[in-house]
Amino acid sequence: MVMFTESDTARLDEPVADGPVVRPLRVKRRIKGRPVNHANGSCETRTEWVGHVARIRDAQDQAAFAELFQHFAPRVKAFLIKSGSDAAMAEECAQEVMATLWHKAHLFDPTRATVATWVFTIARNKRIDVLRRQRRPEPEDLGWGPEAEPDQHDVMALQQETAQLRDALTALPEAQRELIEKAYFGDLSHREIASQTGLPLGTIKSRIRLALDRLRHAMN
């Protein structure tokens, strides 16, 4: 099995203490005009990938697409290979993921996700479809759709939060970061992680929880 099964019967009727890893990505609740901290130098504080997607959406801009392709396609391919795909399949899937990005550019909402997060979800769904051969039930769309002109403060705030998350992730002790990464490579169950790391399942579970707690802490 791919998830933890022991002692997850905890009652959650008390207020849920562990909130989101990053703040809920609800635009309307976010404090507007929070200054963007450029000091950490993470490339996620830049929003130009957002502009690239807008240029594809508005003008079918092939130059913008080529730059996105150069950045993301190899990462998607590497991600799929680490998830258990052979190189040929990963190449084909990465191309399809990037084609989906083009076709769905009008659905991207930069106030709810960075381009990297959005590409990840497309790549993940491709992996479920092609490698695991199963359907992927998704929650009903909220029906808001991206607004024609998303508020730049909201876009910047979302990019900034994700940059903090990424910094927090890279600042984790290596063993914790690797566990989280392995969990995302999929097809690698916690039991398999256990056999690779030599750690019992309960220990892995508590270490992932510890890593998530640290992430939350770093986000506050």
Partner: protein
């Protein structure tokens, strides 16, 4: 949305595995259905998507695309977008993800009796885990059972109580193999639940156990 009423939510483990895409299909269906009703968990799930985005960004650049890859992708794009399947509007009982699996609304569920007024409908997912809809008449109980693995039960209509607590629409009960429980529907309304399990149920009373081979549970 009824999220402010929901008391029993999904765990980080489940939300992270849903974001990572590593759950059996039946559990994905449970998570997607809960997220449709619960803004709190939807926000948490999107946070775990963001962790996935960070993991993607950290992929090393040692892997490169083949020669001609961009041109091949542009050719693929030129063929046009795949036809999107129409989205079913959720009904008052079945949220959209479940409508896709039932092939309609609550009137289209193909119930099969499992005795004592309780009915179930098994949904078509991969066989690593089982998803089914349960119909419990108002005031009736599901036979006392325990689990070989994990069982999640989410209320869609009505409410039920068991040894743990009271569960209403959107609430998820997470039961492991140590929990023996007898969910009993509230008297006010018939109860419909989505239940997913990663192993067959073990019934603790003689009659239901005899039925078990015929019920695919």
């Amino acid at each position: 949305m009824m999220s402010n009423k929901i008391k029993h939510h999904l765990t980080d483990d489940l939300l992270m595995a849903y974001a990572a895409g590593t759950l059996p299909e039946a559990f994905d269906l449970m998570v997607a259905t809960h997220l449709t009703l619960c803004d709190h968990c939807r926000a948490r799930a999107e946070s775990f998507d963001a962790v996935g985005g960070c993991v993607l960004q950290e992929q090393d650049a040692a892997v490169s695309m083949n020669d001609g890859s961009l041109a091949a992708t542009m050719a693929m794009i030129a063929q046009g977008a795949p036809v999107a399947k129409p989205v079913r509007p959720g009904c008052s009982v079945l949220p959209t993800p479940l409508q896709d699996y039932v092939g309609g609304d609550v009137n289209d569920i193909k119930w099969r009796s499992i005795g004592m007024g309780v009915k179930q409908a098994i949904l078509p997912t991969t066989h690593e885990a089982t998803a089914r809809l349960l119909f419990i008449p108002a005031g009736a109980a599901v036979p006392d059972h325990s689990h070989n693995g994990m069982e999640l039960t989410m209320v869609l209509q009505g409410a039920f109580s068991d040894e743990v607590d009271h569960f209403a629409r959107g609430d998820v009960e997470i039961a492991d193999e140590d929990l023996h429980h007898t969910p009993t529907a509230d008297i006010s309304e018939d109860c419909i639940c989505l239940a997913v399990t990663d192993a067959p149920l073990k019934f603790n009373k003689l009659m239901p156990r005899l039925f078990q081979p015929f019920l695919r549970i």
